[in-house]
Subunit: 354 residues, 2 copies
């Protein structure tokens, strides 16, 4: 199978994370706490970083939040993006306290003079700005001209882009998030056809863990397969950690990121073992090897299992009380069901340490 | 936004469920128990039907399983598909016991004479056959000619199709499932370009609840947006009920099915209420209204919430101890946080009963 042909975009840097121009698609999340609640934020930062988050956003609603950025920055290697609404002074304060990126819409943060100050300070520090348009807050004139449509979404974003370009600022990335999936997908397609700035993908107000995961997987998956998207955020009404887990699985499914790929049968009338329990055990046991590029199969039936999972590097197949351990389509040994997971783990550790 | 332009396919009927030629995309699942365990199967059948499953498949591994079909058929309105491997006699037995569809690969069920008997019996009863090719069990000659590729997947399926067509049988649907997402997507695209038989979409061995949901959402979502796919199964190493829930959400996300759409913000540093808990309460309270075509928003912040969720029919937005109830962008009232869910529910019930 061919790899995804990614659309060339302009390269920008967010701290040490490169975005665009074929840099790996990076994973973002956002703290779910007020930024000024430093102790709780530090805990969440560490959790996100351990889970594989690569860029973290925080809302800056007042000067206390802005000051907290300086403390939080010392606690993480992830670049920090400050989320600013309506007030250019908060952007200036965030820059002063060492933020790595800004998310703001220059048309909405105050006077022209304020915008110029923010752009000047960002240029001096080489800090990129994300323009983030949301289907819920489009300008009235665009809504009346184009309705709620990809045209109004994209034009809203390009208006903000033009403000920055007039001020000779080009360290830009753009998002056009919507909660309706078709609107979101078409908006990004249109935007990608009109600009070479890197794009930040996301569905907004996507919903709870399950609903949000499904919508985000379809929307982000569709665009990423078309080569659109340089950095992603899965928004969920769930702990930010889950956003990172879902994002990683999306990228792995599309071979945009290497890592452990655990495949397993659905249970069916042929299964004679507790397959769900077995898969859970395997997932837990292999969690520390999440980044190892191996495909591991957990199959419900010893007759078809090893053959069906020929593509897998390693696998186990349950039978009736006992099961098979196999590697690349070849059966290695037959063991009691209770030993399947430890045998699998031993093979993987041997491979990793080889 | 335009609707999805579905590819025209041949129409077949599975009991009362129509498949193909713009019939609604139907949802399938499979019993996770041996078919002969009738009591437990009846319980699972009822659960699946209540959840919105429209077609149910069961494995038929021996004559006991085949006989059980007659009993199970009386317990459900869903058409039943018998999953047969290697033995045409089991297909004949399943037909005799009143099955509505068969899933078998005619090249793998025995002698030419046996295949002819199955086709004759299926024709007499007007029972369609699904040809189901799986990336794990492709013929050796195709693997050596084309490798593991869309070409080998599709040619394997078309070989079985030709056997049926030679016997003047055309009540066919086809699946080409793979566990690797890009292989699966490309195989269906190729198949759809070469045949007009309706297609049954699925990722095989997709994995556990979360991993499987993500892979299936991307793969099925991608193809359905392109108009490919007439019936779907989400395979998960999880209870079959979850397969149906995920399938419904995939179809709703793409507007291929009407129903309740609950949107909600991710939590962020601006949220002053327990949004996750609130969303859970709303999901539970609205579960009986799953099929009502309304968009309901649960927003974390009273300042932006009602505006951002202007597209929603109804919504609530949390504040600090109290929250707003809104309908189509207009604020209806302000209530204590503890009353938000009941006020929302009252509005929805009033709308439904109007």
């Amino acid at each position: 199978m061919e790899n995804i042909n990614r659309k060339p975009t302009k390269r920008i840097s967010l701290g040490k994370v490169e975005i665009g121009d074929n840099a790996p698609v990076s994973i973002q999340s956002m703290l779910s706490l007020p930024t000024a609640h430093v102790t709780a934020c530090i805990k969440q930062l560490h959790e996100l970083e351990a889970a594989g988050c690569e860029i973290v956003r925080m809302s800056v609603t007042d000067l206390k939040d802005a000051k907290a950025l300086a403390i939080l920055k010392r606690e993480t290697k992830m670049p920090i993006v400050a989320d600013i609404h309506f007030d250019y002074k908060l952007a200036l304060a965030a820059l002063e306290h060492g933020v790595d990126g800004l998310r703001l819409n220059p048309g909405n943060i105050g006077s022209r003079e304020g915008v110029e100050q923010v752009v000047k300070a960002s240029l001096e520090r080489q800090i990129p700005i994300r323009i983030g348009v949301n289907s819920g807050s489009l300008p009235a004139d665009l809504l009346s001209q184009y309705g709620l449509s990809p045209q109004s979404m994209v034009e809203a974003a390009l208006r903000h882009v033009r403000i920055l370009e007039e001020l000779h600022f080009d360290q830009i990335k753009i998002s056009v998030k919507a909660s309706q999936l078709p609107l979101m997908v078409e908006s990004y397609r249109l935007l990608s056809s009109l600009t070479d700035y890197p794009l930040h993908l996301g569905i907004t107000e996507s919903g709870s863990m399950l609903r949000g995961t499904i919508k985000s997987s379809i929307a982000l998956g569709t665009l990423l397969q078309e080569g659109i998207g340089d950095t992603i955020r899965v928004s969920l009404t769930a702990p930010p950690l889950e956003e990172v887990n879902v994002a990683k699985e999306i990228l792995k499914s599309l071979s945009l990121r290497k890592g452990l790929n655990i495949i397993s049968c659905p249970t069916c009338g042929r299964t004679r073992i507790n397959l769900m329990e077995l898969v859970e055990k395997v997932e837990t046991a292999l969690a520390p090897y999440e980044d190892i590029p191996l495909t591991v199969a957990v199959m419900g039936c010893a007759v078809n299992g090893p053959g069906e999972a020929r593509e897998a590097d390693f696998g186990i197949a349950g039978g009736d009380g006992e099961g098979l351990v196999f590697a690349r389509g070849e059966i290695i040994k037959k063991v009691p069901e209770s030993q399947l997971v430890e045998e699998l783990l031993a093979m993987i550790i041997a491979e990793v340490e080889r």
